[in-house]
């Protein structure tokens, strides 16, 4: 089911973080089923999926904030399933930042160190500082905070309280609180979703850089597929309490193993055309043959999928191209989206085009809505009725020269 098996050499090393056969229900509500997630040393994994897919619950199970009904949590080979969150040596960053509002940034960052290094007696207000080596310990903590603050560029904010900071600044302090402890794993639960769009893009680069520098296992939960693809070494797409696919961002995008993965990843959404495969193993949408060079493994009902950028438009009929009706052109600045429908149906398609082509298409729309769409045989993806990916056989080998010629013949 998962493409990761081919890449992950099981004999090479134990995974740094291993969530093994995790099951979790809340009452009758099944949240997670048969989750197996292996994170390699120093790896950045993004858990992505629609809301309610169980990604946050899985993260909380890894953190120890939630107990799995069955399954194990292993960190560097050590079974932590029964260990409390406080004893797991993991740090978590929350969507709500979860900073203590009555403490300054400095005190917020100090808290995890103080709680761990000082005894209850040494933590007592007023008297604590006169006991044992409290002073020396506090001085060390102070210094470590300064260092982390320097890394995150929040030194000027250290004496402010959370209410006196912007959302981005608060998130930095929350990161700082996770960073000072030098934990064995970072767990991040949608840390950027409360920030505005431009800050989000900026912060995700910074998080990626921090991870690069610290080299610590990171599990990052997000509902934003673009964020997941941009930030992670590998992406786990979760739906309905399962991991549908765990793979590199490229593989997730180009080689989705399930139709739900194909649909969830990529914006605009991948185009889906329901087709009937006849006994000659060719796919037909009504009378129209699609993906002409492709041979299906079986006959029956399938779904063909094609990424918006893989669909080319032509003004005249072409061999292998099928007729489409141009419905609407949408300018997005650097590119334009052309919304199409298959004639006489409600099957909607969308393609990415350059703005120049889109302008021309729009002019032409007054005369005729009919265009012709084609795609490389290698760009078509096929899924069976269960949504599983099926391999397409390409009997006629297409030479690279032929490929490029087809591209040149694209519209204009």
């Amino acid at each position: 089911m998962q493409g990761e098996n081919s890449q992950f050499d099981a004999a090479s090393a134990t995974p740094a973080l291993h969530l093994q056969a995790i099951e979790k229900s809340f009452g009758d509500n099944r949240i997670l089923t048969g989750i197996d997630l292996q994170v390699r040393a120093g790896e950045f994994i993004a858990l992505v999926g629609p809301s309610g897919c169980g990604k946050s619950t899985l993260l909380r199970i890894a953190a120890g904030l939630e107990r799995p009904d069955s399954g194990r949590v292993l960190l560097n080979g050590k079974d932590l399933t029964a260990a409390r969150a406080a004893d797991r040596d993991m740090a978590m960053v929350f969507q709500s930042y979860a900073l203590y509002p009555h403490l300054s940034a400095r005190q917020n960052m100090a808290l995890p160190l103080v709680m761990r290094r000082l005894s209850a007696l040494e933590r007592l207000p007023w008297v604590g500082r006169f006991i044992g080596e409290t002073r020396a310990k506090l001085a060390a903590i102070r210094q470590e905070i300064e260092q982390s603050a320097h890394t995150l560029k929040i030194t000027p904010l250290l004496d402010r309280k959370p209410a006196q900071m912007s959302g981005g600044q608060r998130q930095r302090v929350a990161l700082g609180r996770a960073l000072v402890r030098h934990p064995k794993a970072f767990l991040m639960d949608e840390p950027l979703s409360n920030l505005d769009a431009s800050l989000r893009v900026h912060m995700r680069t910074e998080i990626a850089e921090l991870h690069h520098r610290a080299g610590v296992v990171t599990v990052y939960v997000t509902h934003d597929q673009e964020e997941a693809l941009s930030i992670a070494d590998r992406v786990a797409v979760m739906m309905g309490g399962r991991i549908l696919q765990l793979d590199t961002p490229q593989a997730i995008y180009r080689d989705p193993q399930h139709i739900d993965v194909a649909c969830f990843i990529g914006s605009p959404r991948i185009n889906i055309i329901p087709v009937e495969v006849s006994s000659n193993r060719r796919a037909y949408w009504g009378e129209v043959e699609l993906a002409r060079g492709c041979e299906f493994p079986d006959e029956g009902a399938f779904r063909l999928a094609i990424r918006p950028e893989a669909l080319k438009l032509h003004s005249d009929p072409q061999p292998g191209a099928f007729a489409v009706h141009l419905h609407r052109v949408e300018f997005l600045g650097v590119e334009a989206l052309c919304h199409l429908v298959l004639p006489g149906s409600d099957v909607a398609l969308v393609t990415r085009q350059s703005p120049e082509i889109a302008t021309q298409l729009k002019k032409q729309m007054d005369m005729s809505h009919v265009l012709y769409a084609s795609a490389l045989d290698t760009d078509w993806l096929a899924f069976n009725e269960n949504g599983q990916r099926v391999a397409l056989h390409l009997p006629t080998q297409v030479t690279p020269i032929a490929l490029s010629r087809l591209h040149d013949e694209a519209f204009i």
């Binding site: 953190a63 004893d87 929350f94 979860a98 203590y100 009555h102 709680m115």
Partner: protein, 295 residues
């Protein structure tokens, strides 16, 4: 910032706020002012002659044993009721909050004393605390303890009244604390757990107590004001007795003004009463508020 207001808007603003302002003036400020003026006189109900006495009534209070005793008793009552009802209210709220199943049940049970009529409940307490047939003493006897003369002994009466006061206030404080507890961001507890707060006590210190700051201040203020205003239980159960052992401020004011008809003296006491309340409220809001709001 400077605003220039449209005169029309200003006029309608006054018109709109006039009903509230007039009511406040007529029902709050003017009566208070009248009491202040009366406190400088020797006014007596039914006696047409009123003489100006200046601050003499206040000077008298300093030597008035009954009044000073009432101040002492009221202070004792406040010191007994407020800490106990705040701590118990918080404790109950946290216990109830921790249990989802019986939450509504316990919340209603503990809130009952707040909605029940205290004057009516006082007779129940009188029965409960009856020296010979009261269930409390019977229970004590069963465990081999001797009976306590709850309301009839000058040593016990303030304690017994405070017990009833606590019974009445705890439920109210609990509901306020429950509201405060439910507004705490759950992520903070998760963060505290991740940060190494292992024990329930350390989570309480790191999250619950600081987050409840504003609620606690409010509960404290309300509890103090309510305790200073203790009256119903005294009026129905002890009438200040035995002797003057349960004289409290409001009871003494009531007796002076409505039994002895000494309006002037009662007004002076009322002014002291108002001043005490004002000072307490000012201390709480001005001094503590800075420490519990984190903005």
């Amino acid at each position: 910032m400077k605003h220039s207001f449209d005169p029309n808007e200003v006029r309608s603003a006054y018109w709109l706020s006039a009903p509230a302002l007039i009511l406040m003036l007529a029902l709050l400020l003017l009566p208070t002012l009248a009491v202040l003026v009366l406190s400088f006189t020797d006014a007596e109900l039914g006696v047409p002659q009123v003489n100006f006495r200046g601050l003499a009534a206040y000077a008298d209070l300093l030597n008035d044993r009954t009044f000073l005793g009432a101040v002492k008793n009221t202070a004792l009552y406040v010191l007994l009721v407020v800490p106990a009802s705040v701590v118990l209210g918080l404790g109950l709220a946290m216990l109830i909050e921790a249990d989802d199943l019986f939450k509504p049940f316990f919340r209603s049970i503990y809130f009952l004393p707040v909605v029940s009529l205290l004057v009516a409940m006082a007779s129940v307490w009188q029965y409960l605390m009856h020296p010979s047939i009261g269930p409390i003493n019977m229970l004590l006897n069963k465990f081999g303890l001797s009976s306590v003369n709850w309301l009839g002994s000058s040593d016990n009466v303030m304690g017994a009244l405070a017990l009833i006061g606590i019974w009445q206030t705890v439920g109210f404080n609990m509901v306020l604390f429950l509201a405060g507890l439910t507004s705490i961001n759950r992520d903070l507890y998760a963060a505290a757990e991740m940060d190494g707060a292992r024990s329930a006590w350390s989570r309480f210190c790191v999250v619950t107590w600081p987050m409840l700051g504003p609620t606690t201040l409010f509960v404290l203020t309300i509890s103090v004001i309510n305790a200073v205003k203790v009256f119903e239980t005294v009026a129905t159960l002890t009438q200040g007795g035995p002797g003057k052992a349960s004289d409290v401020l409001l009871w003494v004011i009531y007796e002076e003004g409505f039994v002895h008809l000494q309006i002037g003296a009662a007004s002076a006491m009322a002014m002291v009463f108002i001043a005490v309340l004002l000072v307490l409220v000012l201390i709480q809001t001005r001094v503590l508020e800075k420490r519990v709001h984190y903005t």
